[in-house]
């Protein structure tokens, strides 16, 4: 049975292995620095559909099937699928999972969804009540712009602190097996709100949540930051990363040497004009399922703390002057 650790954490007893991972991305991500790690790169961001929302579901559906195929499994072998996205009522996932006929848990954690899905997936495996669990998250630049900002063709400028929503879907399959990498432990984040109201500065809204979750994880397990080879946050971007490092320094923790941010890794800031970096559920999901999983498998990383970060807000809450709350979930993965 899993053990409750410290204040917010859980340590697993079973060997919860990540046996398969797949990442499908859009055209822009496919031109970025991580292109060699992705399983599929779209040539058409509409993915043959007639709307951005349908395209996102199609990407999710195709990538989940790809992940199942890569594991040598069939959809009926999967006990549960746990996925989420950014669209209203999680429609990106709902219609992506529809054709798979697998029992479905839809989750929402904004851009931290991949961490939430992997954490809950691990709990399902640890419970003994599930054999294979498929976890994933998706987002689409255009459907997110349409829902949260402006129509695509509107001639506006983006602020230097704005981030670029990643188009894609990242998925992993968890099961109990003696072949790593394994999910060893999780720390579920609290909602942290430091009063940020600028929807174009998500990194600043999420950094306190990331700092809190990482701090809590390290104290719950009594780890030093160098216990992990890499601490990878989700989509803080350049602004959020700077704030995270500073916030943790105030608490006497220095992660500047082993910290990376998926939002910084996924795009080339200068060449791709992405301002503060990448964001969206798919940002951490595809960076994990692509690059980080590959490095874990090839032992280039042995201990990874994966910390997807999310900004909890809706267009309505922002318009009503409500501040943007942040959340982050830690998933400790080791070989």
């Amino acid at each position: 049975m899993a053990a409750h650790k410290g204040k917010q954490s859980m340590e697993f007893e079973r060997s919860i292995a990540i046996v398969s991972a797949s990442a499908t991305v859009g055209t822009k991500e496919g031109e970025g620095p991580l292109r060699e790690y992705f399983d599929a790169i779209l040539t058409d961001n509409l993915c043959g559909q007639d709307s951005w929302e349908k395209a996102e579901s199609k990407i999710a559906s195709d990538n989940l099937k790809l992940c199942i195929n890569k594991a040598g499994l069939k959809p009926e072998d999967i006990s549960y699928v746990v996925t989420g996205d950014l669209l209203n009522q999680c429609c990106g996932s709902t219609f992506g999972v529809r054709s798979l006929k697998i029992p479905f848990f839809g989750v929402f954690g904004a851009c931290s969804t991949m961490g939430e899905a992997m954490g809950l997936g691990s709990v399902l495996i640890e419970s003994g009540g599930a054999k294979y669990v498929l976890c994933g998250a998706s987002s689409h630049f255009a459907s997110a712009e349409k829902q949260f900002r402006f129509p695509m063709d509107l001639g506006t400028q983006r602020t230097p602190t704005a981030t670029w929503t990643v188009t894609g879907d990242g998925a992993v399959i968890l099961t109990e097996k003696d072949e790593g990498p394994y999910i060893r432990r999780i720390t579920t984040g609290k909602i942290m709100d430091m009063g940020i109201t600028d929807a174009n500065n998500m990194g600043a809204a999420m950094a306190p949540a990331a700092a809190d979750a990482i701090y809590q994880h390290l104290s719950d397990f009594n780890f030093k930051p160098d216990h992990y080879d890499v601490i990878a946050t989700g989509d803080l971007g350049y602004v959020g990363r700077e704030l995270l490092i500073e916030l943790l320094k105030n608490k006497g923790i220095d992660i500047s040497k082993n910290h990376i941010d998926c939002g910084i890794e996924i795009f080339d800031r200068e060449l791709q004009d992405t301002h503060s970096g990448g964001s969206g559920c798919a940002c951490s999901a595809v960076t994990f399922a692509g690059m980080l999983y590959n490095k874990l498998r090839h032992k280039k990383i042995d201990r990874l703390l994966f910390v997807p970060t999310g900004a909890l807000m809706s267009p309505t809450s922002v318009q009503q002057g409500e501040s943007i709350a942040g959340i982050a979930h830690c998933v400790g993965i080791e070989n």
Binding site: L154, P160, P208, K251
Partner: protein
């Protein structure tokens, strides 16, 4: 454990970490692109005058041509690129108004012609129209009283 950072302290940290928009470059770009659009407008007006239209007719004709041109450029995905470069320079002229109507029309057409396109076409331009009309009524009343 050290004391937690207050919202105010954090707000200062955020201000320090967040780069500002390059305001001078943005202003220069807006000035030149806005100027070019207006010069094109003037050119069209002058051409209309050459063909013998009155000043009022020429003005109307210029507006029509600029609105159609911006609408077509929006449809081709070019106006958003111009907007990214020019900022207010391409938003303030009448072409920006055209873009702000065409862009939602394209985006929300997927939700149908009534509840999609019809309901959301003025999602960006709506406030400009509403408050523009209200302001002109107010100015009209003031003008009436003063004259």
């Amino acid at each position: 454990m050290p004391k937690d950072i207050t919202k105010k302290q954090y707000s200062n940290m955020v201000k320090k970490a967040s780069p500002d928009s390059p305001i001078i470059t943005n202003c220069l770009k807006a000035f030149f692109v806005g100027g070019i659009i207006c010069t094109i407008g003037q050119l069209i007006t002058n051409c209309c005058r050459i063909f013998g239209l009155s000043i009022e007719q020429s003005g109307n004709f210029t507006s029509i041509i600029l609105v159609i041109a911006a609408s077509v450029l929006t449809g081709l995905g070019l106006y958003s690129k111009l907007g990214k470069f020019a900022g207010a320079g391409s938003i303030v002229p009448i072409t920006g108004f055209s873009n702000s109507v065409t862009a939602p029309a394209i985006e929300f057409k997927k939700e149908g012609f009534i509840l999609g396109l019809g309901a959301k076409i003025f999602i960006v331009a709506g406030p400009v129209i509403l408050y523009g009309v209200l302001t002109s009524i107010a100015v009209g009343i003031v003008y009436y009283i003063l004259s």
